[in-house]
């Protein structure tokens, strides 16, 4: 039960980070076209994205994190790798594969706006990577290496 709760928290963490980054990137792009954006608009956009975009991102990240945590759990044991580094890397790789598949099958070239740039994509991968570390850290029995 604790692991399930931590897993769900990890998904929400990844999606919330992704949502915040999406707001940051979108509004930065708009401000480059339209000039400074008021704090009220920043906050309203962040809130909007947390309410409307974050759940979508959570639905995308849920299976990615589930599979990547299982895979990283097995691989890090077999190969005696660092659980933190291994979990981060495999979650990031899993996210990249999933985004590539989504974009290949979605009607639009790139579903998630943040995924349009290399920097944005790397940051999205990091969101899942950080969530994987979060899960490993709080489920570990102080055996982190």
């Amino acid at each position: 039960m604790k692991k399930l709760l931590l897993f769900l928290l990890a998904v929400i963490l990844a999606a919330s980070l992704g949502s915040l980054l999406q707001s940051l990137f979108n509004l930065t792009a708009i401000s480059q076209l339209a000039g400074p954006i008021s704090m009220a608009d920043w906050l309203a956009t962040i809130l909007h994205d947390l309410m409307h975009f974050m759940p979508v991102l959570a639905a995308i990240f849920f299976p990615i994190l589930l599979v990547s945590l299982v895979v990283s759990g097995v691989l890090t044991r077999w190969l005696s790798l660092s659980r933190i580094a291994g979990s981060f890397a495999i979650a990031a790789l899993g996210t990249w594969i999933a985004l590539t598949l989504i974009n290949a099958f979605a009607p639009m070239p790139t579903l998630i706006a943040l995924n349009r740039s290399v920097v944005g994509t790397v940051l999205l991968l990091c969101c899942c990577g950080i969530a994987a570390i979060f899960y490993r850290f709080f489920t570990a029995e102080r055996r982190l290496s």
Binding site: S19, Q22, S23, N26, L27, A29, I30, Q32, L33, A34, I37, D41, A44, T45, H48, D49, H52, F53, P55, V56, L57, P107, M108, P109, T110, L111, I112, A113, R116
Partner: protein
Amino acid sequence: MTRFIALWCMGFSLFLSAGATANAFKVDALTTDLENPWGMAFLPDGRILVTEKSGYLLTLSAKGERQSRSLAKLPNIFTASQGGLLDIALAPDFAQSNQLFLSYACGDINANSTCLASATFNNGELNDVQSLFHAKPDRRGAAHYGGRIALLPDNTLLLTLGDGFDYREQAQNKANHLGKIVRLTLTGDVPTDNPLVNEAGTAAEIFTYGHRNVQGIVYDEVSGNIYSHEHGPKGGDELNLLQAGNNYGWPVATFGIDYTGARVSPFTTFAGMQAPLHVWTPSIAPAGMTLYRGELFPEWQGNIFVSALAGKALHRLALQDNQVIKEEVLLQERDTRIRDVRTGPDGAIYLLTDGARGQLLRLTPHS
């Protein structure tokens, strides 16, 4: 109280004059085996040319009987997803020259764009194909090509373009063609009176900018107005009154949000950017447009008809002083995506339904 009654009477009379006409027409399916039809044009002898996205050009009799179907051999045509053969328009002197214009996606999946070509049409075949315009820069993916053509009375044409989906911020960059409507001469050159032609660092072909994906444009000979509509993202489809050189806002000013729910911009309007005449939220996915000046439906004179893909309907908009005063949604019962709508030379309204088994429909009065 008197003022209220007078206003109510005025509003009611406008409603009546706008012509609420449900069931005032019949729908005939003239052709039922079109493969992803996209655009159509009427020949002077009444025959109908229909483009199919896969690259074929069909010639149909006025009754919809198929006379020919030939592959349009357009330079570097790219057929994938939203790309392929798009719109068709006859040259003003078609009766003498047999010249027509075709818009299409060109390139490959990694580098493609919207292109315009001219050709001569003889016996169902295209000849003398000449490339007139290639929107720059090329982009990755296969989405948002725009592609509608409108001929203007000064022997120029407007070609609508899209932002390429992934490049929405470029709609505000006047140095390129992404998210623009361009105005060209009939030979593909830049008219010397284009609005930004003397502005350094801009693409001289630009007529208007700040568009997302424009798939409907019409020039009204009576008023001289040019209307366009464009797909918003999730919500925020727009009807616009085009004026040379104006900025139509995308992606800074929009009523839509991303498909994922993320906000594109905090602004629905913005200083220096033209607000739309009408907005559709949720999106109807407008894909074709005509402004009715035919004789079969006198009550629809000057109305704009918009065909909708996601909305699966035909929208009739009554305008007064460039304000939409009434909207009627027609053909919802058919539950069919409608790709294009045109006024025929006989005054009937012609529709192309979308999909692998697209239809050519004709609307005429019941009587």
